[in-house]
C-alpha cells in the first residue's frame, strides 16, 4: 500500500489536477487568478481546508454513515463539515496569527462554497480510498490547485503585453490558457507509474 502513496500524491498534483483535469474549483480559479498574492492566499486556504475536511469526511462516512446505510446523506454531512471547518479554522488563525489572518481571513468563507473542497471529499469516497490515501490525495489536490492558480496568475500578468483575439474576451483568454496548461500537466503522466 505504501508504495502507491507517492504515485497518488504526484497524480493528485499533476495528472489528476483538481482544477485542470477534474474541472473543480474553477470559479475562483478564473476570478481570483488576477493577482499573485490573492491567488497564493486562496491556494493556501483551499489546501488547508481541503485536507482537514477530506479526512473528517472520510471518518464520518466510514464510521457513521456507512454502518447505517445512510450513504445518501453524504452531501449534506460533507457540506456541514466544510462550513464548520472553515469557521473553526478562521477562529484559530484569527487568534494565533493576525498576519496570516490579515492575508487569508477574507478567503476562508469563500472556500466554503468552493466545489473543489466538496469534490475531493466525494472523489475520495467514490474511489474507496483509505484514510491515509485520502489524506495524501487531498493534500496533493490542494497543492495541485494552488500550483495551477499560481501559474495561471503568473501567465495572466503577461497578458498585459499581448493582444488576444477580441472575441475571446478576458474569460475566453484565460480558458485558452487553461487548455494549454491542461495539456502540459497531462504530459507529466510519465512521472506517475500506473
Amino acid at each position: 500500500m505504501s508504495g502507491v502513496l507517492p504515485g497518488l500524491f504526484l497524480a493528485a498534483i499533476f495528472t489528476d489536477n483538481i482544477a485542470l483535469t477534474m474541472f473543480l474549483g474553477l470559479c475562483p480559479f478564473l476570478s481570483l487568478s488576477r493577482n499573485l498574492p490573492v491567488a497564493a492566499a486562496m491556494g493556501f486556504s483551499v489546501t488547508l481546508v481541503m485536507t482537514v475536511t477530506a479526512v473528517m469526511d472520510w471518518i464520518l462516512m466510514r464510521h457513521f454513515l456507512m454502518p447505517y446505510r445512510l450513504e445518501y446523506l453524504q452531501f449534506l454531512v460533507f457540506i456541514l463539515v466544510i462550513a464548520a471547518v472553515t469557521q473553526v479554522l478562521e477562529a484559530i488563525i484569527d487568534r494565533y496569527s493576525p498576519r496570516i489572518y490579515g492575508a487569508f481571513g477574507v478567503f476562508l468563507p469563500l472556500v466554503a462554497v468552493n466545489c473543489a473542497i466538496l469534490g475531493v471529499s466525494l472523489f475520495a469516497v467514490f474511489r474507496d480510498y483509505g484514510l491515509v490515501e485520502t489524506f495524501v490525495y487531498a493534500l496533493g489536490s490542494g497543492i495541485g490547485w494552488t500550483l495551477a492558480i499560481l501559474i495561471m496568475s503568473g501567465l495572466r500578468r503577461h497578458l498585459v503585453f499581448c493582444r488576444p483575439p477580441e472575441a475571446l474576451g478576458p474569460v475566453g483568454t484565460v480558458m485558452t490558457l487553461a487548455s494549454l496548461m491542461a495539456l502540459a500537466f497531462g504530459c507529466l503522466s510519465g512521472l506517475v507509474a500506473r
Binding site: 447505517y68 445512510l70 446523506l73 449534506l76 456541514l80 473553526v88 477562529a91 484559530i92 487568534r95 490579515g102
Partner: protein, 376 residues
C-alpha cells in the same frame, strides 16, 4: 416499519452530527478566542483597559463614547472614522474603499474595521466626546405629500441638551444599551438650535427599509432614543462677514432649515443662498415656508430647483413654472452663484450632488476648508 426506522435513524444521525459540529465550533471559540485585556489610549490623555478581540468601535462605545455609525459595524457607511496613532493592524478592504489613500496614510481608520489586538492609541473626534444618549417623546408626525414625514419630538433627558445648526443625530429603533450594536440611522436636525427641547426631523420614507417604515409608524407619545449631536457641517465665528451658500438635495434640506432659523434668530446680515433641489415641486416639501422666510428676510436668497416642471393645468395661472429653476440643483448653482464671492458652503444631499457641488464651488474660488458637507 423499516422505512420509519431508517427515517428516524437518518434524522437522529444528522442531528447528532450538526449538534456535534456546533459544539465543536463553540468549544474552539471558547478555548481559542480568549483575548487578553489591552490598554486603549485616547487622545494621549486617558488610558482605558479594554477587552481584546473586539472592534475598536465596540471598545470605544463600551467606554461610553458615542462614536457615530449607521451600518452596524459592517464597514459600509464610513461614518465611524477616527485617527489611530499607534496599533490597529493592517487596513481592511472596506477602509481602502471608503477612506482616501492620503487619509489612510495619515492614520484615519474606520473604527468598526480595526480589531483591538494589542495596545492602541487613538484620537476621538470632538463630537464623539460631547455626544450623549437622548430620550425624547414624539409630539407629532405629519406625512407630507412627497413621501417625507415631518417628525417633531420633545427632549426629555438629558435636560439642557443642545446642538448647533447643521448637526445631525443618530436615531435608534430601540433603547440603546452601551456596548450593543443597535440599528441606527443618521438624521439632521431641522429645527432652531435656540429651542433645543423641541426637535424636528425630516424623514424620507424608504419602502422595505429597516428604519424608515418603523420611524414613519411612530405616533405622539412614543419614546424615541437618539445620540448626538454629531457633525462638522456648522458655522463658526470665523465665518462672519462671508456669504453662506447652502446646497440641499431632498431631505438634505433639513439641516439648512436649522441654519436659516438660527440666523434669523440672530438678526443676521450675512447673505444666505439656499439652492434646494428635488425631482418635482411637490418634493420641495417646505417650499411655502422658505418662500415666506425669503419674503421677510432680505438676506435670504431662496433658489428652488426641480427636475420636472408641473404640467400647466386650467386653474394654474401660468405662474407654475416661473418660480422654479429647471434642472439639477448643481446647474442652478453654476448659473446663479457669482464666482469670486467670499463664502462658506454647506452641502447636504446625495453623494453625487455633494461631489458635483464641491467641484463647482471650488471652481468659483471657495477654499476647501470652507466647503462643509454631509452626504445622505
Amino acid at each position: 416499519m423499516a422505512a420509519l426506522q431508517e427515517i428516524l435513524l437518518a434524522v437522529l444521525l444528522v442531528e447528532a452530527m450538526v449538534g456535534g459540529l456546533c459544539v465543536a465550533i463553540l468549544a474552539v471559540r471558547h478555548l481559542v478566542c480568549r483575548w487578553p485585556n489591552v490598554p486603549l489610549h485616547l487622545d494621549g490623555t486617558e488610558t482605558r483597559i479594554v477587552a481584546g478581540g473586539q472592534s475598536l468601535l465596540a471598545a470605544v462605545r463600551g467606554e461610553g463614547y458615542l462614536l457615530p455609525g449607521s451600518c452596524g459595524g459592517r464597514g459600509t457607511c464610513g461614518i465611524c472614522r477616527l485617527q489611530v496613532r499607534k496599533g490597529g493592524g493592517d487596513y481592511a478592504p472596506a477602509e481602502e474603499v471608503l477612506i482616501s489613500p492620503d487619509d489612510l496614510r495619515a492614520g484615519l481608520r474606520l473604527a468598526c474595521q480595526v480589531r483591538v489586538r494589542g495596545e492602541i492609541e487613538a484620537e476621538l473626534p470632538a463630537d464623539a466626546r460631547a455626544a450623549t444618549f437622548v430620550r425624547s417623546l414624539v409630539s407629532s408626525r405629519d406625512p407630507l405629500p412627497s413621501g417625507v414625514h415631518r417628525l417633531l419630538v420633545r427632549v426629555v433627558e438629558p435636560r439642557g441638551w443642545t446642538f448647533a445648526a447643521g448637526q445631525y443625530v443618530q436615531l435608534f429603533r430601540q433603547r440603546p444599551i452601551p456596548g450593543d450594536e443597535p440599528l441606527t440611522r443618521a438624521y439632521s436636525v431641522a429645527s432652531d438650535p435656540a429651542c433645543p427641547e423641541t426637535i424636528e426631523f425630516h424623514i424620507q420614507y424608504v419602502p422595505g427599509g429597516e428604519m424608515t417604515p418603523w420611524l414613519c409608524g411612530r405616533s405622539p407619545g412614543d419614546e424615541l432614543w437618539f445620540s448626538g449631536p454629531y457633525g462638522g457641517m456648522i458655522l463658526s465665528d470665523a465665518d462672519a462677514g462671508k456669504q453662506i451658500v447652502c446646497v440641499a438635495g431632498g431631505v438634505g434640506f433639513a439641516p439648512m432649515k436649522s441654519v436659516i432659523l438660527s440666523l434669523a434668530g440672530q438678526a443676521s446680515r450675512q447673505t444666505l443662498w439656499l439652492f434646494a433641489g428635488a425631482a418635482t415641486p411637490a418634493n420641495l416639501y417646505d417650499h411655502d415656508w422658505a418662500v415666506g422666510m425669503a419674503a421677510r428676510h432680505p438676506w435670504f436668497v431662496y433658489v428652488p430647483c426641480v427636475q420636472a416642471l408641473p404640467e400647466k393645468s386650467a386653474n394654474d395661472s401660468g405662474e407654475g413654472g416661473k418660480e422654479f429653476e429647471h434642472g439639477l440643483v448643481t446647474d442652478a448653482l453654476e448659473r446663479r452663484f457669482p464666482a469670486g464671492t467670499p463664502a462658506v458652503a454647506l452641502l447636504c444631499g446625495p453623494e453625487r450632488m455633494v461631489a458635483a457641488a464641491r467641484l463647482i464651488l471650488a471652481g468659483k474660488g471657495l477654499e476647501l476648508k470652507d466647503i462643509r458637507a454631509d452626504t445622505l
